[in-house]
């Protein structure tokens, strides 16, 4: 642990990625995260690492794909419309079983939308915006410190499972400045090219072919089963969540990212009025913490999900509750950020029911 720095989220993400061993960044400018590629463009050459501004997000994700196939820790960052462009690449990366990290600083949509914060890419991130049966690990920090910490984990998880890891943030988490202490630098001199990488056969007995393709359906089914087995292991082992004041809670709020930090204030306000409410905050959105939510269903009177979207994580909460208790919702669309008081007012509408 080093010194405490006051940093903007978008830059903390970059610095954490660099300390966490990112060796190559490929990206394209898009608001509200331009500080991130700009930060990489200054720091990567200082360290002799790769920075390239690609001609589009389509190109960027395919450059990441190529770098990932060499076993290099590669990262791209973008925002919702750019992430839409990358979906094809995500699907290819998934079925090739190569590691990489993607950061999505979500903004209001659909379409060109606006540049205000939103959470409307939850479905896209967790259910797969690209084609086919695939998943990426999706993690959602809610403070600048957590953004920094999780970037280290993102690369570790990516390498461990040879999978894409999506770090889902929004413009608010990107623009806010908070104190952050970075974990120790990962020693990149210890990095070795993996046996499976395509860098030229060299001394290897066999050549490597990394493809997401099998023209024979039986072969493609096998490739899919490999993925399914991987996802089962991830669901078993990598669930992360935070429970805040849940032990005596009569009601549970579910929220992620920016809205979760607002919900913590809502909980303080509620408790000052004597309402015992707590927060279940998924940190991994995939794998989703369905067990912990399901377990609290016997304890609470209802769940109250709140997001900056039409109700996306809401569906996973409902599935986890499985009809045992009501699940209510409050959301804002188009880049509006709800206040703590607004969430409390909406929550209270369901009391006494």
């Amino acid at each position: 642990m080093g010194e405490k720095l006051l940093m903007k989220g978008a830059e903390a993400i970059a610095e954490a990625a660099i300390r966490g061993g990112a060796m190559a960044f490929f990206g394209y400018p898009i608001t509200p995260q331009n500080e991130t590629p700009e930060y990489f463009s200054r720091r990567m050459p200082e360290l002799g690492r790769v920075f390239l501004q690609a001609e589009s997000e389509v190109a960027a994700i395919n450059m990441v794909y190529g770098a990932a196939c060499t076993g290099t820790r590669a990262i791209t960052t973008s925002s919702s419309p750019g992430i839409s462009l990358m979906q094809e690449g995500f699907s290819y990366i998934a079925n090739t079983n190569v590691p990489c990290v993607v950061v999505n600083a979500m903004r209001g949509g659909p379409g060109l939308g606006d540049i205000a914060p939103a959470q409307a890419d939850y479905f896209q991130a967790t259910k797969g915006g690209g084609h086919g049966d695939y998943h990426s690990i999706v993690i959602a920090p809610h403070t600048v410190q957590e953004e920094a910490d999780l970037m280290f984990d993102a690369f570790e998880l990516a390498d461990k499972y040879r999978i894409m890891v999506v770090v889902l943030v929004d413009g608010l988490l990107g623009q806010m400045m908070e104190p952050v202490e970075f974990k120790d630098w990962v020693d990149v001199k210890k990095f070795k090219t993996p046996e499976w990488a395509t860098v030229g056969q060299g001394e290897r007995a066999e050549r490597n072919i990394l493809i997401s393709f099998d023209l024979m359906a039986e072969g493609l089914e096998k490739m899919n089963l490999v993925l399914q087995e991987k996802y089962a292991k991830i669901r078993e082992n990598e669930v992360r969540f935070e429970e805040y004041k849940m032990d005596d809670a009569a009601y549970a709020i579910t929220a992620f990212g920016t809205v979760a930090r607002i919900a913590k204030t809502t909980i303080e306000l509620a408790r000052s009025e004597g309402i015992k409410v707590g927060l279940i905050r998924p940190i991994t959105l995939y794998p989703f913490p369905e067990k912990v939510i399901g377990n609290r269903a016997s304890q609470v009177k209802f769940f109250f999900d709140t997001e900056m979207n039409e109700g996306q994580m809401l569906e996973d909460v409902k599935l986890s509750v499985n009809g045992k208790k009501p699940v209510y919702f409050h959301g804002r669309l188009g880049g509006i950020v709800p206040t703590a008081e607004e969430i409390l007012d909406e929550f209270k509408k369901h009391l006494g029911g």
């Binding site: 395919n62 794909y65 196939c69 997401s212």
Partner: protein, 248 residues
């Protein structure tokens, strides 16, 4: 008996899946010969396209990737930037390079990426059944230009080497043809120079190879090579369009 010509060891023993008379096989072989001669086989990473040659990794025995359609130059950039000691080649067709992939192609060239592209121009989209391509000639009938390509509806074919020669990033750009032994040997020499450009870190290198597609041209293989000579080469002439110092 002295051996004058022998199939190179970089070519695998897997029979190709290409149609009879399709010159993809010729292109593969001359690439394989150069990989052998220049000792590059164990260093090479080939990024294969979407198209008939998606299967190329079965036939040339190097480390291999398949890119998403049109993205080979971006994928190759990712490989080369992180592993500059690898010898990186993209092999792409009309759609992959000239249509869906044109932005990635232009920008890899503009950046002077030290990668080499072999671009197969056979005037149609072969794998999907013979649709119009950016290189389809005016008047040429394809499955999506059944009345013949008309400029007022479909514009004009792209002259890719000529276009790319206006950029400073490319170190070597040439167009060859695979229709007869002389042109095939000349094409191999062009590709050798392209490989040298990469090895000498001079920038992007591109060799377009005018090729045949007997099946979708609805011709015999012999008729197809005749068509290249009579109809295609007058529109897409053989030549070297950019040769920077140090390539020779």
């Amino acid at each position: 008996m002295k051996t004058l010509y022998k199939v190179p060891s970089a070519i695998t023993s897997t029979d190709t899946t290409y149609c009879p008379g399709c010159t993809h096989g010729v292109a593969h072989r001359i690439i394989g010969e150069l990989l052998d001669e220049m000792g590059l086989t164990k260093q090479a990473v080939i990024v294969w396209p979407v198209g008939c040659s998606v299967f190329g990794y079965y036939f040339i025995g190097t480390d291999a990737l398949i890119a998403a359609h049109g993205r080979a130059c971006a994928m190759a950039t990712g490989v080369k930037r992180t592993h500059p000691e690898s010898f990186v080649l993209t092999y792409q067709g009309d759609g992959d390079y000239g249509s869906i992939g044109i932005a990635e192609a232009v920008h890899a060239a503009a950046r002077g990426e030290n990668i080499t592209t072999v671009f197969i121009n056979n005037g149609n989209y072969g794998m999907t059944g013979g649709q119009m391509a950016p290189t389809t000639l005016i008047g040429q009938v394809t499955t999506t230009s059944p009345y013949g390509r008309k400029p007022e509806a479909n514009g004009f074919p792209l002259h890719i080497p000529e276009m790319f020669a206006t950029m400073d990033g490319p170190a070597y750009i040439a167009r060859g043809a695979l229709d007869n032994p002389q042109h095939i040997t000349q094409s191999k020499n062009f590709i050798r120079k392209a490989f040298k450009a990469q090895l000498n870190k001079l920038g992007y290198s591109l060799v377009e190879l005018v090729s045949t597609c007997p099946t979708n041209w609805k011709m015999t293989p012999v008729e197809a090579v005749e068509r290249v000579k009579k109809e295609v080469l007058p529109v897409f002439p053989i030549g070297e369009f950019r040769v920077v110092k140090g390539v020779e």
